[in-house]
């Protein structure tokens, strides 16, 4: 899923200070799972903003709404009934959601309330870690299910660098060396031979090097 973290309140406050009526929109998908912009966080942020403005002796009208998915035009359409009553929109979705709203409601300023971080998986309750860079040409089938693009600090494709030490990466004692993990995994699967195969230089065009990416499924498009 796409992970996100709430922006500092000071930044959010700066964005919305000039406005009196705010439409605060959450998303029921990824940002709900990583507890950054779901219904609960929308309530909490709304409350925090109210505390801030009430302290200044100012009342602002914050309308809370949480859409099923903010990155889909049909769900964003649900804001139509509320949009006229708002001076600005504050979105707690990832960057995709914010942009979908901005594209649909061109006449209203839209501000992000979260910083979109990475595509990650939950390691344990409250901990998310990067697992995929969306490189567009998945290598997991040959690296034992561990991604060197997302998890090796240097994105090396043929074994570890000299910075690996006791299974950890030189950038931090908390970061595991992806190639060490790959080797251990291939060994456990009896697939050591795969480690010896040299990977050619990766084509980074599908990873975004060729400009903004798009998927077109003609069988699905209307």
């Amino acid at each position: 899923m796409i992970t996100a973290e709430q922006k500092p309140l000071s930044e959010i406050i700066e964005y919305i200070s000039p406005y009196d009526r705010i439409l605060l929109v959450g998303c029921n998908e990824c940002v709900t799972v990583c507890a950054a912009g779901g219904r609960k966080e929308v309530g909490l942020l709304s409350s925090a903003l109210n505390l801030h403005f009430l302290k200044q002796g100012r009342t602002i009208d914050i309308k809370e709404m949480t859409l099923e998915r903010q990155c889909d035009p049909e769900y964003v359409e649900e804001l139509v009934s509320e949009i006229d009553r708002a001076d600005a929109i504050l979105s707690m979705a990832c960057g995709c959601g914010v942009q979908t709203i901005a594209e649909r409601y061109k006449e209203k300023p839209v501000f992000p309330a979260v910083n979109t971080k990475f595509m990650g998986a939950s390691e344990s309750q409250g901990i998310w870690a990067e697992r995929c860079r969306g490189c567009g040409d998945c290598l997991l089938g040959i690296t034992g299910g561990i991604c060197p693009v997302a998890r090796c600090s240097k994105q090396l494709l043929n074994g570890p660098c000299g910075g690996t030490s006791n299974g950890m990466c030189e950038i931090s004692p908390d970061v595991e060396c992806a190639w060490c993990l790959i080797w251990e995994r291939l060994k456990a699967l009896g697939m050591e031979k795969r480690y010896e195969e040299i990977m050619e230089a990766k084509d980074w065009r599908p990873a975004g090097g060729g400009g903004p990416r798009k998927i077109i499924r003609e069988d699905l498009s209307l």
Binding site: G43, L51, H52, K55
Partner: protein, 148 residues
């Protein structure tokens, strides 16, 4: 602010603090009437939003009273509550509010006297802090209107 009587909301776990409050009552130990108790099935039920809403609605202080560490009836509800209180404190710090306005307190069902003492101490602490920033702004406005 000499006659300031704070409004304090206490989220009390049914299995410990609420029973402790009951015990304080049975033992005829008085505690400040400023403390308004909300019984919850476990402090793990108390979410950050409940604390924030209490402050937003005008509470001067909020505390969550749960079981002693390791003694939660539902295993770790009180630990979760502690994390949530800390989360709210971080929010308040960002907003420039006194973080001492919210607190997590642990006690067992038999600690009636401790419940009363805690209620008294927390009330005194909030009295020293003064009305919540929301109320303060209204008081200042009223005083200004009177002086004009």
């Amino acid at each position: 602010m000499e006659n300031f009587e704070p409004e304090i909301v206490a989220f009390c776990c049914h299995y410990c603090a609420y029973t402790a409050a009951d015990m304080a009552g049975s033992k005829r130990i008085s505690y400040p009437p400023n403390v308004k108790i909300i019984r919850v099935p476990c402090t793990g039920k108390v979410d950050a939003i409940h604390i924030m809403k209490a402050l937003e609605k005008g509470a001067d202080g909020v505390y969550v009273a749960g079981c002693l560490e390791g003694d939660c009836h539902f295993k770790n509800g009180n630990t979760r509550a502690r994390y949530r209180v800390e989360h709210v404190q971080k929010y308040l710090e960002e907003l420039g509010w006194e973080t001492d306005r919210v607190a997590m307190i642990n006690m067992s069902a038999g600690m009636g006297e401790f419940f009363a003492r805690t209620a008294l101490e927390f009330t005194q602490k909030i009295k020293l802090l003064g009305p919540s920033p929301i109320k303060r702004i209204n008081i200042d406005k009223n005083q200004k209107a009177v002086s004009e």
